[in-house]
Amino acid sequence: MATGTTRLSRWHVLGAALVLAGVLVSAALFGAIDLDWHRVIAEVVAQLTGGVSPLTEQESAILWQLRMPRVVLGGLVGAALACSGATFQGVFRNPLADPYLLGAAAGAGMVVTGMVVLAPHTPASFLPVAAFTGSIGGVGLTWTLGRSAGSGTAHLLLAGVAVASFLTAVQTFVQQLNTDTLQRVYGFILGGLATTGWNQVLAVLPYLVVTSIVLCACAGLLDVLALGDEEATSLGIRPGLVRALVLGAASLATAAAVSVSGLIGFVGIVVPHLIRLLFGASYRVVVPLSLVGGAVFLMVADVVARTALAPAELPIGVVTAFSGAPFFILVLRATGGRRS
């Protein structure tokens, strides 16, 4: 039997499940009202087993209607952004590719801002679909411009910077059209999970479940794509088809995340790199473990956002930038800037 493989083992899955569950419950402990950790755990166990709740009605409402949806949404958004980031890095064969650098997030942000400003009564469940069009548009524009300039990844990334800047400029222009919605738009730009309820969780859950399944199923093909189109074709796959499928899924995941949480940066770069350093470079482990790592990263970041300046809240995008930027520099130094 071959040794030296980088594959997902049952220990990875078990460890990831335990860490995820631990962070999920721990994150729910933090907030303006102090809830004892042992009572929260007893409550979770009671809910799972149908036992008697140890919490008062008010405490129960705080836990299940305020904190849990926020924590869960944070996890879903983090999972989506990290998994998309890993996928973009695989497709474009560049470690700096992420939803933000390729215009996916800027496109989604522009469309959502447009909806908030120009059609404020749009149902929340429609926002992921609208954001998806912007996300696909952003990546498509980046791809087209990058390929027209040259075949290198530098061309692609420069095109991504240009497209993201342009779409952000359009977004800024649109937001200035209606000063009544400025605060809401700014909140969106900085990113946040503050207004979260179960409705928002349910609005994005179907998109994120489907895209996660597609991306995890295609993770092995990202390793094949890393050989370049010619070798990938000689191994029997259709690179164009695989790219279209995974870019579509990653853009939809990004769009769904952006539509409910606003623009939260660095998750898509930091988490996949950390997973690579810890568990190996094969996308067969990077993609699924980025899902879990992204969820954990954003749930922890949200706890910091909620508690660092309590009772005031920091935008979560600020927290991820504070922790993500220095971490990213460390990763760059540790890897010597090697390609993914």
Binding site: T5, T6, G220, A281, S340
Partner: protein, 264 residues
Amino acid sequence: MTRPLVTTALCLRGVGAGYRGRPVVHDVTVQVPGGSWLAVLGPNGSGKSTLLKSMAGLVDSTGELLVHGRPVSTMGNRERARAIGYAPQIPALPDGLTVTDYVLLGRTPHLGPLGREGPSDLSLVAEVLTRLDLSNLAGRPLRTLSGGERQRTVLARVLAQQAGVLLLDEPTTGLDIGHAQALLELVDGLRTTEGVTVVTTLHDLTLAAQYPDQVLLLDAGEVAAVGSPSHVLTAERLARHYAANLTVLTGPDGHPVVAPVRGH
């Protein structure tokens, strides 16, 4: 009497190939019997790599190109990948992957829709690693390998594909003469023991005289000569097509030895 078609692994009749309507190779006709070795030779830019890519179905081609009697153009991608293994001149080696991860990519055309390798795939890769003396490097990241180890790893990936035809574009690029010899001996051993058919491009004409059964000399995309090494590799022909001053000696094993001669 003509040779039965089934013994011909590769058959090219009037094959032309190129990129986006720009023809590079014209009217190539050659037959490669199963288990034999064809070397494609020629000066830089003569179309060697393009011809190899056309055999792998990676570039547009015209004419008739058969693998084990079946037209390559009618094969699906996966079916073609199970029949033809291809290693480019400069293979991409994603530096974070381990040797085993990389070699396992050769199993891609044999995997199901979810792409999970089974125990048989892992066993086969372990066998290939052992055969190519790579077992001790199995868990090593590709970026830590030497040039010779990298070339053997690429060969292992192609072998893991279990294709009957191996197309190797300049497999000795960047290798010193010892490593180049070792790699070609390895390929020759596989050809003998496994019966695989080998097509390589080669720049070193002396090595090209020693290993292949037949050589095909290309110049400006046209076939200048095809036949046994001793028939094709003559001083007059090579001097003409390579625009070089050289002489062809006879080595101690009877094979031609191509030696450059400094002009005056």
